[in-house]
């Protein structure tokens, strides 16, 4: 599904660069041993930015829940309405989640609880790759 191309900024550039290399990296606080996404200046738990690092994760996750979008204000998404949007919980830490259109899954038939694997799709405007997720079981 066509998407807007995200424009990286200083804080999230390592995430988007990794996507272009086919790797999923998540911000992690070494002091708290907690990941967070999207990246922030400081750790959401201890409030310090001193111990933040980028951690590569397996790219495995689980479908937590989903919605079906019929009326998106984002112009690029409107041609594909209605479409699924699932919330993916990372295998390494269920409190970290990301969104997915779940390519290949029929409308409103999202297998909640199923295992998914990350893939990286190029976006049209800049070629920036973005994470998407495929059902594997």
């Amino acid at each position: 599904m066509p998407k807007q191309s995200p424009i990286p900024d200083a804080m999230d550039k390592p995430f988007w660069d990794a996507c272009n290399e086919g790797r999923l990296v998540i911000q992690n606080c070494k002091a708290c041993n907690l990941m967070q996404h999207p990246p922030q200046r400081d750790c959401n738990s201890c409030g310090s930015g001193a111990n933040l690092e980028w951690k590569q994760v397996s790219g495995r996750g689980k479908i937590y829940t989903y919605g079906v979008v019929y009326d998106s204000p984002v112009a690029l998404l409107q041609a594909d309405q209605p479409y699924n949007v699932a919330i993916i919980q990372l295998a390494e830490d269920h409190e970290v989640n990301m969104l997915s259109h779940l390519p290949g899954v029929p409308l409103d038939e999202v297998p909640v609880g199923a295992t998914v694997q990350v893939i990286f799709e190029p976006t049209q405007a800049t070629g920036q790759k973005v994470p998407e997720w495929k059902v594997v079981s």
Partner: protein, 462 residues
Amino acid sequence: MADAPAYGGDGTPFSHVSMYRNKEGLGVWEHKGKVAAVGIGHSPTSRRWDGTPENTVGAWAILALRKAIEDAGVRPDQVDGLVLDPQTTTGAHWPAERPVPMDVVNAFNPSKDPLDGIAKLSASWILKNMPELTNVKFTMYAMGCMTNALVVAAQAVGDGRTNTCLVLKGWHNLDGRYYQGGANAQDTIAGGAKWTNLWAGPACFTTATQFQAYCKKYGKSHDMMAPYVVESKKNGLNFPEGFFAQNRPEPLTVEDYLSARWVAKPANLYDNDIPIMCSSAFLLASAERAKDMKQKPVYIWNQCSTDALYYGPQVEGYSPKRAGRGIISTLEDVEAITDSTGRKMLEGAGITSKDISFENMYDGFSLFHQFHIEGLGYAGIKRGEALDLYQTDISNDGPHPVSPSGGNIGSGRTRVWQHTDSIQQIQGRAGARQIKKKAEIGVSGGPMPDGGNFLVWSATPS
């Protein structure tokens, strides 16, 4: 603060983190019963600005403030404080290429910013255009919501920084479809929106997924929302100050609700609130000062907030914190946060959930109202039981009125009706919405379950 000059450049400070009670275990609010709401003022409502000076958000703010002053029965020169939200957008922003109509700007005493009074409201613009307010010594910005402004004003009055304080929230809405255009129309996306814009879009999406998870966890269905939404619309039609009562007085039936188009399934059209224009004001005073005013004082027993402040980036001294560690707050996140909010609200007021006569927790979106009231244990409910409560008599004549104001669903997006109604219920002047049971203690607040500000109102000071 970086964007302070955008609001008149008048040096009005933003609220400070020390004014918020956003932790559990703080005990009873030190100003419980010592601050009261007395006066209420509302402008008319409309869907969008008609381009005339008399119907700008600024003109309507002046109108609402004057009504609140008159309603309380004070002289304008007795007002010594003003707390307001300088942002007035419903999501509609003034297009950069669109010239600002100078006839409108010059119909008022303008500030340095031509959009002041049209698409924003600074304290200095208000004071310049209300020359009768000769003694305002305390001004403060509280961003985003009337609820934020009310908790900040309540704390300021309790702390003695102002004794007779106006609290203002205005909303402007302009031509064009809500949120269409701007960054949403581009083929690239920068900033924080990128994390959701690539996939989702509609504002109700997150709430829809939380509701989806809720239904799965507790075996509930979207249909079970119908009695609550229909009742909210009914209460809205009994709210003469509200949008639907004034502009579209048609009732909603269960069939209408169940056949409405989806926006982000399981959120349909009627689960969303409609962006409107309206300005609203309240007059708060110390309990001592409120005693001789025209209306019965409604005492504030508690003001509190979620740990992660929803308007955190604009709160002085606060290091913004997110509600969770993912893009989307999950059902588990919102349940934990609304449990905590419920405990904070009761603890700070020194009450139990049994003491609450009625609830006006936020509803813009309808699909998260249950998180708020389950967290409070309203009507004795536990997690997963709110939709069962909705199948009982939740009307204003029944034992457990749910959202007697009708909220945003009933009267349009102001995030103000729930406070107006709480005050009016306790004052006994809610008219056709007056609850049959005695209105002794009410609760209101929002906006989001995972981020908001909350108030406990009472008929008596202690």
